[in-house]
């Protein structure tokens, strides 16, 4: 119990990596739609994408457990496609994490895209740029730091995710026992020495990774300014 649980550590990183990749694929078009689109329904889209922050994570996990379970047609459909039910599996955690961390990907992107000079957007449009070109050549490069923030926040929020994993995971080593679950178990078992070690590894690596990411973006930013 007292050794560092590297299996859980690797699982957390894998979960956060897969979740972040999926989130970017969803959040970039969504944020572009919210910023570029017209119509009141976009306010509803933006509100919906922020909603996972409102629910207590264990409650969100409970709703997902029911939704993805065999008692709904949706849950049965997914189980038929995948060949196994989603609850208590890595894939289930990915689905839960994508929903749980969605606001942390969408919000920085919307803020960043919205702050891009409209003159720049209009000029690109006059030159014939479609939405895809606008996003890849204008929004992402100009709002680089927001793009980076979306990646970092999605990743870290998923690493630190607890309530949804607790509810949806079933604590299976190698499949659903993530580092935050291990850390919680250590605290609840009064194994404070192990908890301190686990937390120190998690915090240390996060600080290193964040500093590395932010320093590269700072360098590029200053080159651009010079």
């Amino acid at each position: 119990m007292s050794a560092m649980d590297w299996q859980a550590f690797a699982l957390s990183l894998r979960l956060a990596g897969v979740t972040t990749a999926i989130l970017l694929a969803i959040a970039v078009p969504l944020a572009a739609l919210i910023v570029l689109g017209r119509g009141r329904w976009l306010a509803a889209v933006e509100a919906l994408s922020t909603l996972p922050m409102v629910l207590p994570p264990t409650v969100l996990g409970f709703f997902l457990l029911v939704l993805l379970g065999p008692r709904t047609a949706f849950g049965r459909g997914i189980a038929a496609v995948l060949g196994h039910p989603l609850a208590f599996s890595f894939d289930g955690l990915v689905v839960g994490s994508v929903i749980y961390s969605l606001p942390f990907a969408v919000q920085p992107l919307v803020a960043g895209f919205a702050s891009v000079d409209t003159a720049l957007v209009e000029a690109a449009r006059l030159l014939g740029a479609g939405p895809v070109r606008l996003v890849s050549s204008i929004f992402i490069p100009v709002a680089r730091r927001s793009f980076l923030a979306a990646i970092v926040l999605s990743f870290l929020h998923t690493v630190g995710e607890f309530g949804v994993v607790l509810m949806l995971g079933g604590d299976i080593p190698g499949a659903t026992r993530t580092l935050s679950i291990v850390l919680y178990d250590q605290v609840e078992s009064f194994d404070y020495a192990a908890a301190n070690r686990t937390a120190a590894v998690l915090l240390g690596l996060s600080v290193l990774a964040l500093a590395a990411i932010y320093s590269t973006s700072r360098k590029r930013g200053s080159e651009q300014r010079a």
Binding site: F62, G69, R71, L166, G170, D171, I172, D185, E188, F190
Partner: protein, 258 residues
């Protein structure tokens, strides 16, 4: 505007604590949540003492008390947590004669629970031996008393090694029940108190696990050492042990000790 709002609220902040006698603060194990509120109301009617309960896992409450949480009484789901607090000098003697041991106020009962629409046979020991049992939900055996009892029962039946890969572990007994009630697990070893709550009673059926399969789940109470309301705390424990309340515990799925 915010300044005016603050000025308007300030008297409330100052006056609120003067309003009433401080309530008796009860740290209660999560499995008591369905049954303790009416008992505390009866206690207030009988004695005039207002008690407020906080429900958490016994481990969480123990950690909170170790770090100075302002509780007066701790009703644990087992004996190990109260003993830990007594050894640390943070809690004492709940029983008569100031014996330095937690007082057992009830015993827990382990049941096998299934949904009524389960593909398995109605709950019995045969269900645990059945190859059709794919996922069995239990509470965390490292610390949840019912989780510990569930593993002990499976080991007594020599089924633990076979079922281990099929176990899904929940943080607590309520969550283990939710795993089964949402049909994500086929069956669960949960507490009788959970199985008797209205939702689970309507959704499923249970089988009481034979008592010789697991060590008794004794629920212990202690009075927190630094309480300023020792007399009121003792009254609450006496009330819990009174025949009327013990009978009520039995109806809710706990086994009386008196």
């Amino acid at each position: 505007m915010p300044k005016q709002l603050f000025a308007a609220l300030l008297p409330l902040l100052v006056l609120a604590p003067l309003g009433a006698q401080a309530p008796l603060r009860v740290a209660a194990a999560a499995d008591l949540e369905p049954l303790l509120p009416p008992i505390l109301s009866q206690f207030e009617r009988a004695t005039g003492i207002h008690a407020e309960a906080t429900y958490q896992s016994s481990a969480t409450l123990t950690a909170q008390i170790e770090n100075g949480a302002p509780f007066d009484v701790f009703l644990s789901a087992d004996l190990s947590f109260p003993k830990r607090l007594i050894e640390a000098g943070l809690a004492g003697a709940a029983g008569p004669g100031d014996s330095a041991a937690p007082i057992t106020y009830a015993r827990g009962t382990l049941v096998l629970w299934e949904r009524k629409d389960s593909h398995l046979l109605p709950p019995s020991l045969d269900v645990l031996r059945s190859p059709a049992l794919n996922r069995l939900a239990i509470a965390n055996p490292e610390r949840a008393p019912y989780g510990r009892a569930a593993v002990a029962a499976l080991k007594s039946m020599k089924l633990y090694d076979r079922l281990k890969p099929r176990l899904v572990t929940a943080e607590n007994i309520a969550q283990a029940a939710q795993f089964v009630d949402s049909a994500n697990a086929d069956a669960g070893l949960i507490s009788l108190t959970s199985a008797l709550t209205p939702t689970l009673f309507a959704d499923g059926s249970y089988f009481v696990m034979p008592r010789d399969l697991y060590p008794p789940i004794e629920q212990g109470a202690v009075i927190i050492s630094k309480t300023g309301q020792r007399a009121a705390a003792r009254k609450l424990l006496d009330f819990l042990l009174s025949p009327a309340v013990q009978a009520e515990l039995a109806k809710s799925g706990l086994t009386p000790v008196r």
